[in-house]
Symmetry: C2
Subunit: 331 residues, 2 copies
Amino acid sequence: MDVAVIGAGSWGTTVASIVARRTPTTLWARRAELAERITAEHVNPDYLPDHELHPDLVATSDLAEALDGADAVFVAVPSHVFRATLAAMDGDVRPGVPVISLTKGFEKDTHKRMTELIEELLPGRPAGVLAGPNLAKEVLEGYAAAAVIATTEEACARELQGVIRSTMFRVYVGSDIVGIEVAGALKNVIAIAAGMAEGLGTGDNTRAMTIARGVAELTRLGIAMGGDARTFAGLAGMGDVMVTCISPLSRNHTVGVRIGQGMTIDEVTAEMDQVAEGVPSARAAVELAEELGVDAPICREVDAVVNAGRTPQQAFRGLLRIEPTHEHAAG
Amino acid sequence: MDVAVIGAGSWGTTVASIVARRTPTTLWARRAELAERITAEHVNPDYLPDHELHPDLVATSDLAEALDGADAVFVAVPSHVFRATLAAMDGDVRPGVPVISLTKGFEKDTHKRMTELIEELLPGRPAGVLAGPNLAKEVLEGYAAAAVIATTEEACARELQGVIRSTMFRVYVGSDIVGIEVAGALKNVIAIAAGMAEGLGTGDNTRAMTIARGVAELTRLGIAMGGDARTFAGLAGMGDVMVTCISPLSRNHTVGVRIGQGMTIDEVTAEMDQVAEGVPSARAAVELAEELGVDAPICREVDAVVNAGRTPQQAFRGLLRIEPTHEHAAG
C-alpha cells in the first residue's frame, strides 16, 4: 500500500515518518526546499529540527507526484487551507482511495468538518479521521501513545490501522467520525481555557474543573452535532484534552497560558510559528452553539478573550458568576 | 442547620472549615489532642499545618458530642474504618438526618460502597456522597474548584449544596450515587497507573493514554455496577482523575511515581502519613471486574504491582502487548 501524506507540519511529518516504517510513503511539503531537506537529510528543520525521520521517507513539493499511485492519503494542512488543498488534489486521487484528515478544526464561516470537505471535494473516496492525545515530538521519540481512526467504511479503518500502528503507537478503530472531529476541534478551545486558568495562577483544582466542565460542554455540543457521548470521554476527546492541557508542548495551551499571564492575542500569535487552531475554533464553537441552541459558556468566554479583547480575568469572573445547578446542565 | 464532620484528615478538616463559614459545624477527631488544637488554634497540625481554619470551627474527640443536634453529617474516615465508625455513631444520628460520605474507596472483602454501609448501619438516614477534583489544600487556599453532591433524595442534595458552596467552591447536584462512588474509588487506581507511567519516564502522550484508557476501563466497570456513563466523564470521574494525575499533591499519584522510579510498595507506604486508597481499591476493582465479567487490564496490572510484587516495567509491557481493537473494547 502506497501512502501519501499532504502537509509537512510537525504532525503530518510525524505520521509520514511512522507510516514509512511499514510501507512506501511520500510526504508533500509546500516549499521545495523543505521537501528536499526531508528527503536528503531525513529531518524537518522547520518543525522538528531535533528528530531523525525514517530514512525511507521521501518528500516532494509536487502535489501530483506525492499522490501518484497512492492507495491512501492523509491530509495534515491547517483548516484554513484544507479546502484549497483538496481542490488542488482533485484528479490525482483515484476513486475508492481513502482520504484521512489529521487536522483539528472547522472550516471558517461554513463550520464544516474536514471530512465534510473531503466528501464535498473528493466524492467517492472514503473519508476519515485520525486523532488522539499525540504530541508529535513524543510519538517520534517512540514514547507509547494511542490514537483512534474512523472512516466512513469501518473495514477501511481496520486496514489503515494495520499500516499505522506499532507496539508503541496504539491505534484503535472508532465508529464516530463526527464526534472525533468535533472533539478534535473543540479540545483546542478547552486547552486555551485551561491555559488561561494556569496563566492566571490558579491551582490544579481550578485546571481540573475547567477541563472537566469544558469536556462536559464539548460533549453537549458534540452530541447536538450528531456525535456519540462515548467519543468525548475517549482518546480523541478527554484524552486529547488531557495531553493538550498538561503538556508545555501544546500550542493552544501555550496561547492560553500567555494570555493568562497578560499578553494580548496578537502578541501571542506573532511569536508562534504554527497556527493555534483553537482561536478560530472558539468562534466556530460559539456560532455552532447558537445555531444548535446549546449553552456553551466556556467557549463563549474563550472566544470573547481571543477574538474580542475581553481580559482573562473578566472571563474567569464571568464563569464563576454562573450558579452551579445540576452537573448535566451548562455552566 | 448544624453540621457534624466525622474524621479530621485533610479533606474532612477542609470540608468542616468551609461549611463553618455558613453554619455551626463540629469536627470529630479521633485524638483529643488534635481536637483541642483545632478548636484553640484553628489549625490541624497533623495534616494541614500551614492552613488557617475557620475560627468558628469547633472540634471534639467525643463522637456523641460531635453528633449532638447535627442536622447533617459528613463522614471522612478511611474506608477500612468506615463501618466501625458508622457503628459507633448509631444512636446519635436522628432518623432523617442525611449522612454524606467524603471517602473514596470500597470496603475490603465485601466491596461495598460507603453509602451502602450508611444504608446498612444507619437505615432511615438519606445517604449521599460528595466528590470531585478537590485537593484539600487548594480548596482551603480559596482557589476555584468544583464538586458534585448526590443523595438518595435529590431535594436533600440541593439543600446541602446551599450549605457547602461558595463563589470559589462550586458544588453541582448529581443524580448518580453509584457512579460517583465507583469513580471515586477507581480513580485512585488510575492515578497509580498514571503515576507509574510518569515514574518510568514516559512522555505526556503515554500519561494521557493511560488516563484515557483508564477512564474507559473505569466507565465500563462502573456501568456494569449500575452507574451512569456521564458520571465517569464528569467531575467525580474524569475531573477527579485529572487532578489526581497532574498534581504532585495527590497521594495515589505519588505512590505510582515512586513505584515507577523503583521503590517497593512497602517502602512507599512506610513514608506516607495517610492511607493511599488506591492500593486496596486496585484489589477490589479486579475482584469486582471478575464478578461482573468485565475486562479491566489496567486495574489488573496495578493490582499485580501494588499487591503482588510485579514490577512496573512488567506491567507496562503487559499492557502494550494487548492488541488495540475497537476503542470501546478493553485494552
